[in-house]
């Protein structure tokens, strides 16, 4: 079974530029998560989708970050314009759980992440 795919693996940009990250979840996984992990910290949830609907985006800085999950499969996360403090690893994860079907363990499977450096 293929895992969660993310690209690119690394990205270096200057502040005020824009950047986009792509994620392809595990086939059949209804829920997709984007996390920001700053060096030395735990991952922080930015946005959670179930199929193509947003479940939680309370911690997404909506003035500069946007995300979409068209057709309930792949997802993109965009930052425009980037700030120095956006330097982090952006992790995508997916899980089986969906509305109307609770999965007891609901394990999230993580991709390798995209390491973003904003100069």
């Amino acid at each position: 079974e293929a895992g969660v795919a993310q690209s690119p693996r690394y990205k270096i940009i200057e502040k005020r530029q824009s950047v986009a990250f792509w994620c392809n979840p595990i086939s059949g996984h209804a829920t997709l998560y984007w996390y920001q992990q700053i060096l030395g910290q735990g991952p922080k949830l930015l946005i959670q989708f179930q199929n193509n609907g947003v479940v939680d985006d309370s911690q997404l800085p909506k003035d500069r970050f946007s995300a979409e999950r068209l057709k309930g499969v792949d997802s993109t996360l965009k930052i425009q314009p980037a700030k120095l403090e956006d330097s982090a690893v952006y992790l995508c994860a997916s899980s089986l759980e969906r509305l109307g079907k609770v999965v007891a363990k609901n394990i999230q499977y993580f991709g390798a992440g995209t390491r973003l450096s904003v100069l």
Partner: protein, 108 residues
Amino acid sequence: ELKVEQNPLFLSMQEGKNYTIYCNYSTTSDRLYWYRQDPGKSLESLFVLLSNGAVKQEGRLMASLDTKARLSTLHITAAVHDLSATYFCAKDGQNFVFGPGTRLSVLP
């Protein structure tokens, strides 16, 4: 707002020793998770604890959950170098929250 705390944040221990990592959380909710992250790598699921008194074991790691105390523990038995990593606990409720992580170094 759900808060998840871990201690210690850094742990250096010798091979063969035992130690426990603690995870406290602020609200009652379902499911407590433990993940492992190796340097420069992504996160790998270790355990999912579903109810009060749950205990899971895999090799030298054992996790337990006390929902009344809002506490989960990750116990390491006879540590080996391969266990060196950062360990995160996480809780889901209204949203999914990770703890700050415990960076474990096992020294020969």
